[in-house]
């Protein structure tokens, strides 16, 4: 057994360790230590919870058992998952947190005595409200993340599913949630609680299906933020400092990451928070420009250009992730370096489909992180470089973002590959990227298109060298 004060102190310690875990991520050197702090914080939180209950009965064995089962599944997934599947993984894990929050809220509703929240049928009002919020947001997070997962995994079509009166339906549901919560607080009827959860599940689905598959990363981050606030809410119910601190951390983290993504894509933060966006995939404005002449080449041409270059900048994008070309790319760069060519990587803040996506893939391929540069660090270097090797990237290089105020990506900062002496574009066709905007660069004098799968082309270039 452990005193309430000591327990609270330990929860504070694990909250602080979680802060240190995120703090560690401020640089790759300290990040592993940070992750260790996070694990330590979790360990402390779980251990002191055991001690605080002190009821080491048969149930305890089951707790350990289920912990190990879940842990085993988690560990298995963590070791098996390919790096390219990180967006889905995060979405999937996310839905689990949401569902766990719902379960905890249900359990607290059914057995409030265990949590010191009053007795069944007469739960403290504040706790009941916190609990309802926790359950509702948890349920929304769950079903929303499931949809996001299905869309990202390709099990469900990425196309936005819209139907008439969508917004009116959402409004009606929102009102009914508030009414339900009100009556729940007054009557404490279990059926109202169940209905609340059921409707929240529905809301999660309805909010996410109209959003296009490619917008899912923003959605995930947003749900992440929501779930943080829900966790904090449950932290208030359980009077647990670790949960309150964590909730705020996760809430901020999700909000900031979605802000960064929105800024990188030049979308308004509010349109994201309110939901119901997407459909950009349909606005593909291609077709009318296809007739313009395009210079295209093969791996020999590319190898020739690079052989004569003294500096090359690699610009990876979503296509590299799709083609899993990162390892081939690293090998190509090794070859270039052996030939005395200076090579660096330029990463746009929203290259790929999730923040830091490209960095993780390059790291997987053993690219040292001090060869990888952010937009602001490297953008001036394009003017002095001989070849920009754009592999599966498109939108993040599109100069229209600077020139055409009508364009959906207008105002987004871009990588100035156009300033390089020659630009090599590896992609499979002339079709546009995520934003559905045609890229003027394809038709420029100093551009050579390399139509192929990113991995295949890169491997061919190595052979041609």
């Amino acid at each position: 057994m452990i005193s309430t004060n000591l327990l609270a102190l330990f929860y504070l310690v694990s909250g602080v360790l979680f802060i240190l875990a995120l703090r560690g991520l401020s640089s790759p050197e300290t990040s592993r230590q940070g992750n260790f702090f996070g694990i330590l914080g979790m360990l402390i939180a779980v251990l002191v919870t055991f001690l605080s209950i002190g009821n080491f009965s048969t149930s305890f064995i089951y707790v350990i058992l289920f912990l190990l089962i879940g842990g085993g599944v988690g560990a298995f997934i963590a070791f098996k998952i390919p790096m390219t599947a990180m967006p889905e993984l995060v979405a999937g894990f996310h839905s689990l947190v949401g569902l766990a929050a719902v379960f905890v809220a249900i359990s607290a509703f059914l057995n409030p005595e265990a949590f010191n929240l009053g007795v069944s049928g007469n739960i403290k009002l504040a706790s009941l409200i916190e609990m309802s919020i926790g359950a509702a947001v948890g349920a929304i997070t769950f079903s929303g993340s499931i949809i996001a997962f299905l869309k990202l995994r390709g099990i469900m079509s990425g196309a936005p599913i819209t139907f008439p009166a969508q917004h009116i339906l959402n409004l009606i549901i929102l009102i009914s949630i508030i009414v339900l919560t009100y009556f729940l607080c007054v009557t404490q009827l279990p059926n109202l609680f169940w209905s609340l959860i059921a409707i929240s599940f529905l809301v999660g689905i309805l909010l996410i299906i109209p959003i296009g598959g490619a917008d899912m990363p923003v959605v995930i981050s947003m749900l992440n933020s929501y779930s943080g606030w829900a966790a904090a809410g449950i932290g208030f119910t359980l009077e647990n400092t670790a949960l309150i601190i964590t909730g705020a951390l996760v809430g901020s983290s999700g909000a900031i990451l979605s802000y960064i993504m929105c800024k990188g894509m030049n979308r308004s933060f509010f349109s994201v928070i309110l939901g119901g966006f997407g459909g950009t995939d349909q606005t593909t404005k291609s077709g009318n420009k296809e007739q313009k002449p395009v210079k295209s080449g093969n791996s020999d041409d590319a190898a020739f250009l690079m052989k004569n270059a003294s500096s090359v900048i690699i610009v990876p994008g979503y296509g590299m992730a799709v083609a899993q070309a990162q390892h081939a790319l690293r090998e190509m760069v090794d070859t270039l370096k052996k030939n005395g060519i200076k090579v660096s990587y330029a990463i746009h803040p929203v290259a790929g489909r999730m923040p830091g996506h490209m960095n993780v893939l390059l790291a997987e391929a053993n690219v040292p992180y001090d060869e990888v540069f952010e937009l602001e660090e490297i953008n001036n270097d394009f003017a002095n470089c001989d070849v920009a090797y754009v592999i599966g990237a498109n939108d993040v290089t599109n100069p229209v973002a600077k020139t055409d105020p009508q364009s959906p990506i207008y105002g987004m900062p871009i990588l100035d590959v156009e300033k390089a002496k020659s630009v090599l574009f590896v992609k499979r066709s002339l079709s546009p990227g995520y934003a559905g905007v045609d890229n003027d660069l394809f038709y420029r004098e100093n551009t050579l298109m390399l139509f192929a799968d990113a991995k295949k082309m890169t491997e061919d270039i190595i052979k041609s060298f």
Partner: protein, 100 residues
């Protein structure tokens, strides 16, 4: 006369939002993907509630109506904890400096 603990918790919450704001902004962009997975892992500290719920049953009836949800929540949260921290570890282990 005594201050309601809720006020303290509110203070802790508000200060944590400030900390969260600053600590997340100071995360380097190249580690944003591990950030997503690690926040996922730490948000599973909700397991604390799951454990309380699961152990609230009595010996005659380990799996009663309420505790069964606790046990389910333990499994889900455990998947996240182990999965989240390990996949983060795996990613972070890949970030290497140039060997000189």
């Amino acid at each position: 006369m005594e201050i309601d603990p809720f006020v303290f918790r509110l203070s802790i919450f508000i200060l944590s939002i400030f900390v969260g704001y600053y600590v997340v902004w100071s995360v380097t962009p190249s580690l944003h993907t591990p950030l997503m997975s690690v926040t996922n892992a730490i948000s599973s500290v909700i397991i604390v509630g799951a454990i309380i719920a699961a152990l609230a049953g009595n010996n005659e009836n380990i799996f009663n109506e309420a505790s069964i949800f606790g046990f389910l929540a333990i499994i889900l949260a455990a998947v996240n904890i182990f999965g989240g921290f390990l996949v983060t570890q795996r990613m972070l282990a890949m970030y290497k400096k140039k060997k000189k």
